[in-house]
Symmetry: C2
Subunit: 310 residues, 2 copies
């Protein structure tokens, strides 16, 4: 298994960290950013970066590099347009936090053949090149999509890059990924915001009496609002499903509380938290990317919490 | 300021910790528990404890001790009956997590004159004598009620005990206390249970992708369900108000999310969390318990996050 060069388009927190991480593993790696200031900072830090998207993509096509789209969702379309023009046959992945929308945009640009979606579930409240670090992906879950027609050779290239960065690789179909992160990543933000509001609604007395349960339950409400908006609005369809379910759960709990009982909710919630604490990451064995039926096997393994390892 | 003896009725986690803490400060301290097993354990640990409620209370009356009710809410009535019979004139407080209901029970037993409610906001997931520790109250907030007619001398006795135990003293009217803890202590539990359920509803894939926001947002769902039920059901009226507000907030957010915007919620939530992070504990100065209008001054100070210090 050779390690192809990596070309990162977008050098913000995630893309910038990926350029660093890929270079650290000894791969040839270079990046593009539209801002000269960001590129200057990357070059000053010893990395290979350019503001010339066309040249960057031609170089990727020539070197048969793995191209990683690391720009925010609104910028994905224009990047794909350039890829379709200058490097239509490269192996292509992305690190955007929603997967179905990216896959649709890739298909719209005729680039699905060698595209495999990715989502490294890593980040900080910071953003930009200067916030990046080669260690950002260490022990993080990196979802790699297994949609119909996925090229097994590209899938393996993306998975090897994720493993090289120290991540845990979980395969998932794009829509299932979006539904899952709505529940465990985007809904927690909405509930944290609502809880913070409830506390503040009680004034300084309530905030003064707040202890661990409030502190932990509102922690992510400290995230910069535009970052939360981008996540939640970008996955609105799936998040609406999760939020509606939760509104139903809380409305039922409200009725039971009016009858002086919360035990149905607390028992179910405790069981759910226990299941989370006891989750396992079983390695996928016996099937390799490209084997007959591997996509169905990998999807089902991911659904059961399985991970791909070397 | 002399430190009166302390008589603790009920030697579970809170009462048992309080007996230890009071003894550690050098006060004369003794306790009662109805279980011989618990009393034997306390005595074996070197503490003064008895299963004889009548004798315990007569001793308290004779020594003019501060009597602390440290039994669960359902047992408060029968304890008050015994106090009314054997020690009707002692200074009386409690450590139960709801305050209006306790105050009403005290009034029903004709014991309001020398009663001041208390709520040390400390605890662990454990319970019982063996789980107790003299350090349980260190740096915890200890709410002491300032209801109409509060005896300033008893208030000061309770506050001195709380300070001796290392706590931070916040004055609050009973009903305002209950409304505040519904928001910052009981509602967080309901939301954590609901979030855990949402994650588990996404199966092992969702639980496998869960990171910090889900882990922290569901932490208190790991609490034993009967403990959560007791807290929430015991403060149902106030919790219904907080839960209804939150259902409104989330329902509005749901409508805005359907229009692809979460910014109203995230901005307000961020502002609320920032207010929590920046909360201050200003000491009450210029007014002492018993001064003209001290109850109104202390209530207002507590509403602004103020604390009483020596």
């Amino acid at each position: 298994m050779s390690s192809p060069p990596v070309c990162v388009l977008g050098l913000g927190l995630i893309g910038g960290s990926l350029l660093r991480a890929a270079a650290t593993t000894g791969r040839q790696a270079w990046g593009y950013n539209r801002s000269a200031q960001v590129v200057d900072a990357a070059v000053a830090d010893g990395f290979d970066a350019s503001t010339d998207l066309t040249a960057t993509l031609r170089r990727a096509a020539h070197a048969d590099a793995l191209v990683v789209i690391a720009v925010p969702m609104p910028a994905v379309g224009s990047i794909l347009e350039a890829v379709a023009e200058h490097a239509p046959d490269v192996a292509l992945t992305d690190v955007v936090s929603v997967k179905a929308e990216v896959a649709a945009a890739v298909a719209a640009h005729g680039l699905s053949r060698r595209f495999v979606g990715g989502h490294p579930m890593a980040g900080t409240a910071e953003s930009g090149w200067t916030a990046g670090t080669a260690e950002l992906f260490r022990d993080a879950v990196w979802v790699i999509t297994v949609d119909d027609g996925t090229d097994p050779e590209v899938w393996r290239q993306v998975a090897e890059l994720a493993l090289d960065c120290g991540s845990v690789v979980v395969p998932a179909e794009s829509g299932e990924h979006d539904a899952a992160v709505a529940r465990v990543s985007h809904l927690p933000h909405l509930l944290a915001e609502a809880l913070a509001l409830s506390g503040a609604g009680g004034g300084d007395l309530a905030l003064g009496l707040a202890a661990g349960s409030f502190r932990d339950g509102t922690r992510v409400a400290a995230t910069a609002p535009p970052l939360v908006d981008a996540m939640c609005e970008g996955n609105a369809e799936a998040l609406l499903v999760a939020l509606d379910e939760t509104l139903d759960v809380l409305t039922t709990a409200r009725e039971q509380l009016a009858d002086r009982s919360t035990s149905a909710l607390t028992r179910a919630g405790h069981e759910a938290r226990t299941r989370y604490e006891q989750r396992r990451r079983d390695p996928i064995v016996g099937t390799q990317p490209g084997d007959d039926g591997w996509i169905a096997v990998f999807r089902e393994a991911g659904r059961r919490g399985g991970v791909w390892t070397r």
